[in-house]
């Protein structure tokens, strides 16, 4: 076991601000959906729009970060141990079997996480963001005072947006719950707050972890060379 700096500061900032925005957007969004009353429709709409602009900006930064740091590779799904991972959560963990995959700064996500988060990034987020943008600019005016986005039925846009929101909510519930499946109940959350996590040593190159804390570029480099091999 070694304490490893696994989540960089931007990553943590991105994670928590995105979490806060998604929570706030869900709150205001489901009020617009008339699921409950809190701020009042008018304020809910205004808040929802403001928060959506913030989320768009944040996502723009995070996409940039993912590509410049190479972190996007974390989300390449590996199917080899996917089944083992699912078995672990459904059966293994009750029999005190060991975790089938080993977490490291180089490989933060287990195969199940990778594929679900990829789904988040490629399906859920685009679903709400694109439908949200269409919703936001529905019947707005262009420079020539012409009304744009006139011919798409609002119902389609709304249905996709709502479905995306429901999917996100289900994701959030499971995601939050899964954070309790670390070494202790709060290990994972603490790691996401501080960046540091106690990890098992990787079997093949045990001193890799200390390297990771040194610099980002190096990690990516080692990854690349590995893949080239």
């Amino acid at each position: 076991m070694a304490k490893v700096y696994i989540y960089k500061s931007f990553e943590r900032f991105w994670h928590w601000s995105q979490a806060a925005l998604i929570f706030f957007l869900a709150l205001t969004g489901f009020e617009i959906h008339d699921s409950f009353h809190l701020f009042g429709f008018e304020k809910a709409v205004a808040f929802h729009r403001t928060a959506s602009y913030l989320l768009l900006a944040l996502i723009a930064f995070s996409i940039f970060w993912h590509f410049t740091t190479g972190e996007w590779r974390q989300y390449i799904p590996t199917f080899s141990k996917l089944q083992a991972q699912i078995r672990y959560y459904t059966v293994g963990m009750f029999k005190s079997e060991p975790h089938p995959t080993i977490k490291s700064a180089r490989k933060k996500l287990n195969p199940l996480q990778a594929v679900v988060y990829l789904g988040f990034k490629l399906v859920m987020a685009p679903m709400v963001i694109l439908s949200g943008l269409l919703y936001m600019f529905y019947k707005s005016f262009d420079v020539n005072d012409m009304i744009i986005a006139l011919n798409i039925p609002l119902e389609w846009i709304a249905v996709i947006h709502t479905l995306g929101a429901f999917l996100l909510m289900a994701f959030v519930i499971v995601h939050v719950y899964m954070t309790t499946t670390g070494h202790t109940l709060t290990t994972n959350i603490k790691a996401m707050i501080t960046g540091w996590e106690e990890l098992d040593d990787e079997p093949e190159n045990g001193n890799e972890n200390s390297k990771n804390t040194v610099s980002e570029g190096e990690v990516v480099e080692t990854k690349k060379t590995k893949e080239n091999e």
Binding site: D34, F41, Y89, F94, A158, T162
Partner: protein, 529 residues
């Protein structure tokens, strides 16, 4: 230490930015301000009509006044005799009927039903003299009544049942010398009292507008910009701008709010976007008939009851007639919430002689739907009632109602529907089978006046709410906050609650599992001992 300073700076910036974002003083709506300035100055007449020698005479007949007017305004009569105020009809292209003339001459209503055969009385609201029957000469400019619109002395009044002639008490010389631009009462003398009393028909046009405050009507308020009717309803060549769809049918020469206020009058872009589908009136006229009640229903079927052989009337607590032997039973309402309809500016009418094919009979139909790009949602007064109908020929009947004396088949004096129906239909050259009954009718009156101050206009949640919103009856479009796709909601709820239940079960299983494990460990320790 540095870190603390950085955090303090970041937090300060966030606080300042959010204060700036969240705190807004309402900026001045400059376009609105400009309009108010523009209409703040009232034009004064450039001519003093008392100075004209030709008007300083003792007029024998009202036609003499018209002739005097035409001495100077020697082309105006040509404009007037081309106007709908004079002709009581307009040429229009009507879907299914082609080019036809539509107006009071051939369209019915569900108030006093129709002017035909009752001209002697109805012509009180015709801008002419001597319309006693449908053989009135609409080319004789001498019969144009200039005074009814242009009298500024409030002296002029048309006589009751005098075929459009002024009351005998009117001093014609005084009127002729005080003519000018029409004021509220000139228009109101007909448009406020149509249907036989104040605010009977429109609901949004009534005598309270002569002296009201901004809560009643922001445009005509005496403590507001105090506009008169013709400030908006301009009349180039005596063709009035603006239409009412009780008699109008096409989307031409209409008067729209945006003519003054532009299509993007709000400072809030979100509100401006509603312009595409929501008429200004919909939000800005939350209720009509704010001062005096308006008639909401008129049941002719109840008419004709007599007490001791004599007609009688009943009144409600506000003094409105709830029953009249000559007219039937009425419902009145004050502060009425409008009904809402899609409307594209075109309307169809039941024209005398049309076969009835729907019940209730649609006296007029406002055309439009959610998927028609020219349609907007408008507030509408719907007037419901029943009226006389021939079940054999399936025609609405034009009855003869008015006559100065008994024995002339007029219902209002003879109380015999058969005679009234026969006389009326005969005059219109339409068949009458000899059988009559009463059929339900509906008539649609778009509400355009009595605009409220902006703080009283509808708010988002008046429509964007799941139940009982203002637009609850318009179901042919998707409205956020009101509508949802039930399948998506079901699926979403299954996902949401399914996930919650799923993780709860999983968590519970883990909890139980860990208890068991602890027990087993404890047992092992015990056995070790």
């Amino acid at each position: 230490m540095n870190r603390v300073i950085v955090y303090v700076i970041v937090v300060t910036i966030i606080v300042l930015v959010s204060v700036n974002l969240l705190h807004k003083t309402e900026p001045l709506n400059l376009s609105q301000y400009k309009l108010k300035q523009e209409y703040a100055t009232k034009d004064k007449p450039s001519v003093d009509h008392t100075q004209f020698e030709i008007l300083n005479q003792d007029f024998k007949t009202p036609q003499d006044v018209t002739v005097a007017c035409l001495e100077c305004h020697n082309k105006r009569h040509e404009e007037v005799i081309h106007s709908s105020h004079w002709n009581w009809e307009r040429v229009a292209y009507v879907e299914g009927k082609g080019i036809s003339k539509i107006g009071k001459k051939n369209v019915l209503n569900n108030f006093c039903i129709g002017a035909n055969t009752n001209e002697q009385s109805c012509a009180k609201c015709h801008i002419g003299f001597g319309m006693t029957s449908n053989s009135f000469d609409f080319t004789n400019a001498k019969n144009v009544d200039c005074m009814v619109c242009h009298d500024n002395s409030e002296e002029y009044i048309k006589g009751a049942a005098m075929a459009g002639y002024p009351d005998r008490s009117v001093n014609l010389s005084k009127v002729a010398q005080s003519v000018g631009s029409p004021s509220k009462i000139n228009c109101g003398s007909c448009h406020f009292y149509s249907g036989g009393g104040n605010n009977v028909k429109h609901g949004d046009l009534e005598e309270a507008l002569l002296a009201c405050d901004r809560n009643t009507d922001v445009h005509m308020a005496q403590n507001g910009i105090n506009l008169s009717c013709v400030d908006c309803h301009t009349a180039d060549k005596h063709q009035m701008k603006g239409k009412l769809y009780s008699v109008s049918s096409t989307d031409v020469n209409r008067l729209n709010c945006e003519d003054c206020h532009s299509s993007r009058p709000h400072l809030d872009d979100m509100l401006n976007r509603h312009y595409d589908k929501i008429a200004c009136q919909t939000c800005h006229i939350p209720t009509y008939a704010k001062e005096n009640a308006t008639k909401m229903a008129w049941r002719w079927s109840e008419s004709g009851k007599l007490k001791d052989g004599k007609p009688y009337h009943e009144e409600d607590s506000l003094g409105n007639h709830t029953y009249l032997s000559i007219k039937g039973e009425f419902d009145w309402q004050k502060n009425v919430e409008p009904e809402y309809k899609w409307f594209n500016g075109n309307a169809q009418h039941y024209v005398l002689g049309d076969i009835v094919d729907t019940i209730p009979v649609q006296i007029n139909t406002l055309l439009g739907s959610a998927d028609d790009i020219h349609s907007k949602i408008y507030p509408v007064k719907v007037h419901r009632g029943d009226q006389i109908y021939d079940p054999e020929t399936k025609l609405l009947i034009q009855p003869k109602l008015y006559s100065p004396e008994k024995g002339d088949s007029a219902f209002w004096v003879d109380f015999n529907w058969d005679l009234a129906a026969e006389a009326g239909m005969k005059r219109m050259n339409l068949p009458y089978s000899g059988k009559h009954e009463f059929i339900e009718t509906e008539m649609y009156w778009p509400v355009n006046h009595m605009v409220s101050p902006k703080d009283q206009s509808l708010a988002c949640a008046d429509c964007h709410t799941r139940d009982n919103g203002r637009l609850a009856s318009l179901t042919d479009f998707y409205m956020p906050g009101r509508d949802r796709n039930n399948w998506i909601d079901l699926l979403g709820n299954l996902l949401f609650w399914g996930s919650l239940v799923g993780v709860s079960i999983h968590g519970l299983a883990r909890l139980i599992n860990s208890f068991r494990k602890n027990e087993m460990e404890a047992e092992e320790i015990n056995t070790d001992q």
